[in-house]
């Protein structure tokens, strides 16, 4: 059972507005986006063609809105997740929405996000790896896709996107200030604790070395010759 705390990103603020929209409208936009992706990037579906049940639950940790994605080329699905999807999806990917979008566009490296624990995965790791590789093999450009799918309203979509990006950037900066102010005291306390721990660690080493030096040489040799009992940590 995992403990998920919401990531502090602009999507935390945008999320309530999105969730206020009618559900069917959100599903229609998601279905349109997936249809566009299948048209523009069929190779993603080709690379996953050998997978049985290529379904993934995508859980942006800053949105309180899970998405269900199934990349079966014959019947692809992208919609808001239903409660039953939690058990039916083969895998789950959890992370902040900005990181998930960067991953989709290949602007971030999935392994690096995983090493830093920005992303977490559950369920079938092989499916998540295959999905990551399939997406990364394409040059996906969300901005271009949105403008293109607006058809004759493309120039309007371009201007609206530019405005939205500007607003997002401002919100991101403001939230970073707030986060800095909130975390300041805690950071100082943590730094103090880390320093105390390092000091204790050093003192412990000194004591251990002192004890070893006081042991008779024969006992030290005997201990060094003892076979190490090893086992897998469980």
């Amino acid at each position: 059972m995992s403990v998920q705390r919401p990531a502090f990103t602009p999507f935390l603020v945008i999320s309530p507005l999105l969730r206020a929209l009618p559900g069917p409208a959100i599903d229609a936009v998601l279905a349109h986006a997936l249809h566009q992706m299948q048209q523009r990037h069929p190779a993603v579906f080709d690379r996953l063609s050998g997978e049985t049940n290529p379904s993934v639950l995508i859980s942006p940790t800053d949105m309180q809105l899970d998405l269900y994605l199934n990349l079966d080329a014959a019947r692809p699905v992208l919609r808001r997740a239903h409660p039953a999807d939690v058990t039916q999806a083969a895998a789950r990917i959890l992370g902040p929405m900005p990181a998930l979008l960067e991953l989709l566009e290949g602007k971030s490296d999935g392994d690096a996000l995983f090493f830093s624990r920005t992303l977490k995965i559950e369920g079938r790791t092989d499916l998540v790896v295959a999905l990551r590789n399939a997406l990364d093999g394409e040059d996906i450009d969300l901005r271009a896709a949105i403008i293109s799918s607006a058809g004759v309203l493309g120039p309007v979509a371009r201007r609206m996107l530019a405005l939205a990006e500007k607003a997002y950037g401002a919100l991101d900066r403001d939230m970073a200030h707030v986060a800095g102010a909130l975390a300041g005291d805690q950071d100082r306390r943590m730094a103090g604790m880390a320093s105390s721990l390092a000091d204790l660690d050093q003192r412990m080493r000194t004591v251990e070395q002192g004890i070893k030096r006081r042991q008779p040489a024969a006992l030290r040799r005997e201990q060094a010759a003892m076979p190490a009992s090893s086992g897998l940590q469980s």
Binding site: M1, S2, V3, R47, L48, E51, E102, L103, G106, K107, S108, D109, G110, D111, A112, F114, F115, S116, R117, K120, I121, E122, R124, T125, D126, L127, V128, V129, A130, L131, R132, N133, A134, D136, G137, E138, D139, A228, S229, S230, G231, L232, Q233, S234
Partner: protein, 325 residues
């Protein structure tokens, strides 16, 4: 020094070429190469397109066909070699002596490189591969110090390529059976270490548990960075203390010792990571291109710029300097 860069997908190949690679190495989408991960690697058509893209920009493409053919299935590996030659790759990277013999006999003009999977790390072994199969370059295992590479280069008639950045191995390349022991599949025979289908992550409160098959490999605390789910990077208990008995989760990074590698006669630098995304490839290749260009211009090189891309968020110069000795 030649900069040899990885690509697991066509987009990664383009990213490597655009970022300044001299050479891109790839594999076919099957068990013939040591990065046989789901959704990764090239179809024949994709490789043909990739070669065309690279060639128009003056970049070479090598094909890794570096696993060991299974009995009665040699034709899959033979076909990979034949296709690589007909597609026009500049070199084929091989490890198995049977396959080297096949390539030598069937395609005498093909340029053959010896994969790190062959684990050739001494003068006699490398001379043998050169004499018997006409190998023109050897990718050295990550076990040798700078001094040992210098001595080797003075005594062998072939070029040497060394790892410059990326995941570390337990330095028994081509001979490691840890993954086989735990999962029945290995990089040597199946092209995959710790196959993803056998890897599971469990979130327990603030900790993440990584498992390979039935084995628990690690338990990461809330503030710890994560490494690859391989047994060699596992944390085990011995004498009541849990620790990284084989190897810390860390990545190789030789940026700081590039001039020394050039001085000991290394011909090419290999960046590991065909399984990594194009963002990794673009950043790492670009960083090494800049570093090599600055060295050529007699300027200082900035180090530590790629730590966010490393496993466990830490880097090492590994056996080249043997800081642990």
């Amino acid at each position: 020094m030649e900069l040899v860069c990885p690509a697991g997908t066509p987009a990664s190949l383009r990213a490597a070429v655009d970022a300044g690679a001299d050479v891109v190495y790839c594999g076919f989408r099957d068990a013939t190469n040591a990065r046989n991960f789901p959704g990764l690697n090239f179809s024949r058509d994709e490789l043909a397109e990739g070669i065309a893209y690279a060639r128009t920009r003056g970049v070479h493409v090598y094909l890794a066909c570096n696993t060991f053919p299974k009995a009665d299935h040699e034709h899959i590996w033979h076909q990979a070699v034949d296709d690589a030659v007909s597609l026009g790759v500049e070199a084929i990277i091989l490890a198995d002596i049977g396959l080297l013999g096949y390539a030598r006999d069937k395609h005498p003009d093909a340029r053959l490189h010896l994969s790190v999977q062959a684990s050739a790390s001494n003068v006699d072994a490398i001379r043998f591969y050169h004499r018997e199969f006409g190998v023109r370059r050897v990718v050295l295992p990550r076990v040798l110090s700078l001094m040992e590479i210098r001595e080797l280069n003075c005594a062998i008639p072939v070029e040497t390529e060394v790892f410059a950045f990326g995941g570390m191995c337990v330095m028994a390349e081509g001979r490691c059976l840890l993954s086989s022991y735990a999962t029945g599949e290995s990089p040597n025979m199946n092209g995959v270490c710790s196959p993803a289908a056998q890897v599971h992550y469990l979130e327990r409160g603030d900790t993440t548990v990584s498992k390979l098959g039935n084995f628990t490999i690690n338990v990461y605390g809330a503030s710890e960075k994560v490494g690859y789910p391989t047994l060699c990077k596992g944390r085990f208990k011995a004498m009541d203390k849990a620790g990284y008995l084989f190897e810390d989760p860390t990545s190789l990074d030789v940026t700081a010792i590039l001039p020394e590698l050039a001085a000991v006669g290394v011909t090419a630098l290999k960046i590991e990571g065909r399984q990594r995304g194009k963002a990794y490839i673009a950043q790492v290749v670009s960083s090494f291109r800049t570093a090599l260009d600055r060295i050529a211009a007699g300027q200082k090189v900035q180090t530590g710029t790629l730590s966010h891309m490393t496993e466990g968020m830490s880097g090492t110069t590994g056996a080249y300097q043997r800081g642990w000795q």
